[in-house]
């Protein structure tokens, strides 16, 4: 599979579901919108599948979709212990970009970016992908130099990135404060115009609907309690709704990766941390791009509902609680208000947390294990949402062919033994 | 007790708040400013690593008893001994006497497993006094600073608006706050801002 032209499988819904379109909206209005077909079935688990994906978040659903659409594996199931997209997929701040430092990172995130560009057509579902740009601010001489190095590396990989000075930034983002006397002044920034946001829930629903259309069973409220093996081979998964026989299991459970890995005696270098986010009351449009700042630890955008969407760094202790401590958002908002004084009177409306699986090198794990038929896609930490299509696409390839492709290969679990780490703390930047 | 207006013009070297001018914002509710603060310029500060057995030596040289419990300090005139850890405390003395005191302590060590380090210039010290001093500090400090919980003789290493500090309660309305010299300007600005609603005066 060529890196530049990913095989996206068939476009639209070949399985026969009615397509979404303006015509469909008009037609359904005649029957008061009571006749729309369910987007996916509430499938009963079969006794056996060709592959089982554990985890019904964006990455898991994308994996299942590409297994069916690209590799023709339709006798598969996605098993989700809660409701689909209810984990980190529903809790992130929706930022999408591919401006990472190392070649290996450029490969996977840009692969994902190219899939984003066309995803709504592939899935016949509007994921609201908005390429409004992602601008990362530099606040010191050091950051300016570091930024320059990064921009060169990014462009050498054929990915768009440009440097802006304070005046240009002010033109691009009228509400930003470029006063040079503040504690962390805006000294410059680098912009990826093709970056932006998407509607996180829509991504999960779009993949679920398209996968279901191809025959994939999506089984919610079903918790995996064990991984049954015969020797060093997977033979099936134990679940709260019974045993399911299968020879291939893909684990895509993010913050719970260590829990599932332990079911097979597999060790991971992952630490599960809280990552918090919050939204403000909705206001008229004041920000039409995404701003990230490593120094002041914050990233911000404005949703289509008008809410300011804000996030910061992880809480620095392990947790599965889906909540963190107050000083993190407090610290972040102080910085946000200094950069965007117009936010100072805004009320914050909702605040929540997720469980992010962080890796020692801030890069993911997409890997076989030493148990035949058991595969892991995890360790995305705070940067998983942007990789949703790319991760699903290469993980499906790994599961279908039992070997990683060129893009996935560097992310093997073995790299922690070989020392070939891919250190992206700088690019993951603020959130790690 | 440290005096409120300590002039050290005879000592060389800039102080941490060099360049800051006397500032005054009147109490909006009339009356005295809720907070009056100044720098204790060149206040002598020594870090000591030694265990309780050093108590007698400390008393004979500095005049201060060894701090009896965690988070407390003892005093003898303008000198204080502040508990910082199970085997660590800070000796505070009048400006200009730090080197002499450090030498005496060093000389008395003998074979003792101990260390004394002169950190007079590494840290800056503020003297704070006024009816609103506890409310002002509480704006940036998570400790319970009510006068019934943090009384005279109590000390703590903690955070004051993100800056690492050692605070000491001298009386109900009187504190010493010590921070890294590089944070002194920041804390000065923060104190002025935090105390604005009570009326504040910074004395040079």
């Amino acid at each position: 599979m060529a890196d530049n032209q990913p095989d996206r499988g068939q476009r639209g819904l070949p399985g026969g579901k009615p397509r979404y379109s303006a015509f469909a909206v008009a037609k359904n209005s005649m029957s008061y919108h009571q006749d729309w077909q369910r987007a996916w079935r509430d499938a009963e688990p079969k006794s056996e599948y060709d592959a089982v994906i554990i985890g019904g978040g964006g990455h898991g659903l994308a994996t299942a979709y590409y297994l069916a659409a690209v590799h023709g594996m339709t006798n598969i199931a996605v098993i989700e212990k809660g409701w689909l997209g209810g984990g980190n997929t529903g809790r992130n701040t929706t930022i999408i970009r591919s401006n990472y430092l190392w070649d290996e990172s450029a490969a996977i995130y840009e692969h994902s970016m190219k899939l984003w560009e066309g995803l709504s057509q592939d899935l016949n579902f509007n994921v609201m992908f908005s390429q409004r740009g992602v601008l990362t601010i530099a606040h010191s001489e050091h950051e300016l130099r570091e930024m320059s190095r990064r921009v060169h590396a990014i462009r050498l990989n054929g990915i768009d990135s440009e440097i802006l000075g304070p005046a240009e930034i002010k033109k691009f983002v009228p509400t930003i404060n470029i006063d040079q006397s503040i504690r962390y002044p805006v000294m410059g920034g680098f912009l990826q115009r093709r970056g932006g946001t998407a509607r996180h829930d829509a991504v999960a629903w779009g993949y679920a609907r398209a996968a279901d259309d191809l025959g994939v069973d999506i089984i919610q409220k079903c918790e995996v309690t064990g991984l049954r093996r015969q020797g060093r081979k997977i033979v099936g998964v134990e679940t709260s709704r019974g045993f399911i026989k299968t020879k291939k299991v893909g684990c895509v459970v993010a913050g719970h990766s260590s829990v599932v890995a332990a079911m097979a005696g597999i060790r991971l270098p992952i630490a599960s941390r809280p990552l918090q986010a919050l939204v403000s009351e909705p206001i008229k449009p004041i920000l039409d791009t995404v701003i990230m700042s490593n120094a002041v630890h914050m990233y911000i955008s404005q949703s289509d509902k008008g809410e300011m969407v804000l996030g910061a760094g992880v809480d620095k202790y392990n947790s599965y609680a889906q909540r963190g401590s107050f000083p993190v958002p407090e610290h972040m908002l102080a910085a946000a208000v200094e950069l965007f004084p117009v936010l100072s009177r805004l009320r914050m409306l909702r605040h929540w947390g997720g469980i992010v699986d962080t890796c020692p090198d801030a890069s993911p794990i997409i890997s076989k294990t030493d148990i035949e038929g058991l595969y892991f896609d995890c360790g995305w930490g705070t940067g998983g949402f942007k990789a949703t299509p790319g991760s699903g696409h290469v993980f499906a390839d790994l599961i279908a062919n039992d070997r990683p492709n060129k893009i996935a290969a560097p992310y093997t679990l073995d790299r922690f033994r070989s020392g070939l780490l891919i250190d992206e703390h700088g690019a993951a930047g603020v959130a790690h | 007790m440290a005096s409120t207006s300590q002039k050290s013009t005879s000592l060389p070297g800039r102080t941490a708040l060099h360049g800051k001018a006397m500032t005054m914002h009147p109490n909006p509710n009339s009356g005295k400013p809720g907070l009056v603060f100044c720098e204790l310029a060149h206040l002598g500060k020594l870090n000591m690593r030694a265990d309780k057995s050093a108590g007698k030596m400390v008393k004979s040289i500095t005049g201060c008893m060894f701090p009896p419990a965690a988070n407390t300090f003892t005093s003898a005139g303008e000198r204080h001994a502040v508990w910082l850890g199970p085997d660590e405390f800070m000796i505070i003395c009048e400006a200009g006497k730090d080197e002499e005191l450090a030498s005496s302590i060093q000389a008395s060590f003998g074979n003792r497993h101990a260390a004394v380090t002169n950190i007079t210039d590494a840290l800056a010290a503020f003297h704070l006094k006024g009816a609103a001093v506890r409310q002002v500090l509480a704006k940036g400090c998570a400790l319970d600073l009510h006068h019934s919980s943090f009384t005279s003789g109590d000390a703590a290493q903690t955070l004051l608006s993100h800056a690492a500090v050692t605070i000491m309660a001298l009386a109900d309305d009187e504190f010493i706050v010590i921070c890294r010299t590089s944070f002194a300007s920041y804390l000065h600005d923060w104190l002025l801002d935090a105390a604005l609603e009570y009326g504040v005066k910074f004395n040079k």
Binding site: G226, L227, H256, S258, V259, A262, M263, A264, G265, R267, L268, P269, I270, A271, S272, K316, Y317, N318, S319, Y320, A321, S325, F326, P327, P360, F416, R417, G419 | A70, N71, L84, G85, P86, E88, A142, L143, A156, Q157, T158, L159, A164
Partner: protein, 128 residues
């Protein structure tokens, strides 16, 4: 938000502390006696339990001393705080310590032979 009882300073706000990650990782003193894979396990593999976790913490804005903590990663309840260099005393924490895969690793054996006489050293390790 956690209130952490520093063994030296008493109860203080979580913001005064930094978390040092998994506790009781013995550094293998004889590094050339274990394989590279085993050394990589020591360096990178980490316990990440959903439940009781034994961690190291430092009172970074206070006395700066280190101590150990047994904390539940779901409820954030602090079950026990015990000195650096010591082992926990509560039943749940002791059991978390003994049951950890790390007790049986080559790195731990290479660190301090005496450690492996903990009573569960011979316990079979398998899927949990």
């Amino acid at each position: 938000m956690m209130l952490i009882d520093c063994p030296f300073c008493g109860p203080r706000d979580e913001t005064e502390f930094s978390c040092g990650g998994e506790a009781h990782i013995a550094r293998p003193l004889a590094e050339n006696k274990i394989s590279e894979a085993e050394f990589a396990d020591y360096l990178f593999m980490r316990d990440n339990p959903k439940g009781l976790f034994l961690e190291r913490w430092r009172h970074s804005a206070g006395c700066r001393r280190w101590f150990n903590m047994a904390r539940d990663t779901v409820s954030h309840e602090i079950v026990e705080i015990y000195p650096m260099g010591a082992l926990p005393k509560t039943a749940a924490a002791k059991s978390a310590y003994s049951a950890s895969w790390r007790r049986d690793t080559a790195a731990e054996h290479a660190a301090k032979p005496a450690r492996t006489t903990v009573k569960n050293a011979g316990k079979a390790r398998g899927a949990k």
